[in-house]
Symmetry: C2
Subunit: 358 residues, 2 copies
């Protein structure tokens, strides 16, 4: 792993080469050997309507609905490492985030399987294949593509950022936009973390990857479940939890105000017991700007820095890696599927190795 | 394949033995060797709102939404057979239908992968991970578990049918109910078949498996795409298409009236060019009954028989297998995940072998 990381760092000097090489590499150099794969639901609730069920004239009376569970698809390699990796997606996404990249290469599901980790890909409660919700919702076909293009830092619509780690072909952008899938019930981080804790009870000790909006339920899962042995958070976007008395001020931005979340110090303390690493990509300004898509991330990066400092002040082991600081440029909000996602995976592998988690 | 089918038929004489053996067998006798796996979206539409997009004060104006595509997860074994299998789920379901069974054994995804078929599992447009819909909808938490129990022929709630091929443990029923996921837009068989035809254009010649409500978009896909080389339909539940002039009367039942669908004779003729097999399970009466869950299938089985006759009358190659007629008893509406699903897979393998499709 160490030599791999060094190679990646060396190659990163010439970013153009990395992008071309990653894009043209054959998809599957070696076959995958999988000991077991499958899927299941876990967590959730059962709601039963009052009355008696009439088999031959059914109404809601006396009937139940199973809802608010998560869905997980798992694969175990032939000789798995000690800790599996559980992957939790972000807003508007599903487990599909970690599968094939928009430009058709292997995503973290298969990359980490090749590195001999068992993987669990989650569709959180009220999303994707875990669609049954205990609370009603209305889904409108709201057009958001251009907002997403800016907010996920592919560029400033309609122009890609120079050197962005995203293949500019129209068919790639089409795949990216079609990875979007709506909430099928109200978003609720506590419902998600409850189901995630149930999942961790089933998997046993595991490493948790979170993306974007998945950050907050990720922290809450680690607070609830001692089976979370590390968190790798890719651009957590909201829900930075601080202990009462140490909550920083809210941070206004051109994309709205980012508010920290207050929790009990005893809960926060649980986040100081595991290694945590947070990655942010490129094109995030440090000074306020009227560019909404960028300014959204200025405050998130700033809040994440305060959060890491708070964890470490209380004896924790948190680290923030702003990729441009280590010479890795061009990453979007979806670094796990960017053109240099193998390089990102190498960073993660090096971290897991350093923390003796592999 | 032939010896396998004969063995299965012989073992079927003692059903109790089959069920126990299937249930207690180790989940994964041999590792899977996968050459390539991944996922993508295909088909669908793009809708753009009028106006100009303002990057820093975004509204709907000038923005687009990608919607009405399907999602597919595929796996290719090391030495795949000539034709991949595309699997399309039924109502309230997703590609998850073909994954792990509710009692935790391998489903058709992995069983047919072990038999060296490449597999493509679909989430149809407006379902599961293909949730973006061009038309709005409201999702209510309607309790339907007991209706499903009856209608999917597990039994007559709260009692399982005697000898049913479904593990009666509560945790299995819990998994079964949690495989349900709602429509995220209006159900539209033509939207589904359009996306399916786009998928078949990508896969090339393939075998199509359909379940339940997937039957109708399955027929429509084969009409639109010459790449559908065979259809294996598990309990098609609606949308039996007949050529103009040969449409049978609607069939009333205790669960409502089943109406055939009229199509142009030239379209129907396309269904006479490929081998088709339809399977129905057990506990379907031949005479009308007030038992809603059963009577629902009486008319569907009857309509399917008329449909097969119509296809064959026009020179086609369709077959209906009512499993009890060949000594296979206890199957529910979900035979691909029933306790004897390996036996069902053997039936399918024998059919594919007979038609030189493997």
């Amino acid at each position: 792993m160490l030599s791999r990381a060094i190679t990646a760092a060396a190659v990163a000097i010439s970013l153009g080469v990395v992008a071309v090489a990653a894009h043209c590499a054959p998809a599957s150099p070696l076959p995958l050997v999988i000991r077991e794969q499958g899927s299941f639901a876990i967590g959730g609730t059962v709601r039963t309507a009052p009355g008696s069920f009439d088999n031959n004239a059914p109404t809601s009376a006396g009937q139940s609905i199973h809802a608010d569970h998560l869905y997980a698809f798992y694969q175990m390699p032939e000789n798995p490492r000690r800790l599996p990796i559980v992957m939790l997606h972000g807003a508007y996404q599903s487990g599909r985030s970690w599968e094939t990249t928009p430009d058709g290469r292997e995503g973290f599901q298969t990359i980490f399987l090749r590195r001999n980790f068992s993987t669990y890909l989650v569709d959180q409660p009220r999303r994707g294949r875990a669609g049954n919700s205990s609370i009603a919702t209305t889904i409108e076909p709201v057009p958001n593509d251009q907002l997403f293009f800016d907010q996920f830092r592919l560029g400033t619509w309609p122009n890609f950022f120079e050197g962005v780690q995203f293949d500019p072909r129209p068919e790639t952008l089409d795949q990216f936009f079609r990875s979007v899938t709506p909430n099928t019930g109200p978003y609720d981080a506590t419902i998600i973390s409850a189901a995630m804790a149930a999942l961790l009870a089933k998997t046993g000790p595991a490493i948790l990857f979170t993306h974007s909006q998945g950050g907050e339920p990720g922290w809450l899962t680690a607070i609830q479940s001692a089976n979370v042995k590390a968190i790798v958070a890719f651009e957590p976007g909201s829900g930075f939890v601080f202990p009462k008395g140490e909550v920083p001020p809210a941070m206004p931005s051109a994309a709205g105000t980012l508010r920290p979340v207050e929790i009990a110090p005893a809960e926060f303390a649980k986040l100081t017991r595991i290694p945590i690493v947070i990655y942010y990509g490129d094109n995030i300004p440090t000074e306020p700007t009227s560019e909404r898509g960028k300014d959204n991330w200025r405050v998130r990066l700033a809040m994440a820095k305060l959060w890491v400092a708070a964890v470490n002040r209380d004896g924790g082991d948190a680290r923030l890696v702003h990729l441009p600081d280590i010479g890795i440029r061009g990453n979007t909000h979806f670094m796990m599927s960017d053109l240099n996602n193998v390089q990102i995976a190498d960073q993660v592998s090096a971290f897991l190795s350093e923390k003796h988690l592999d």
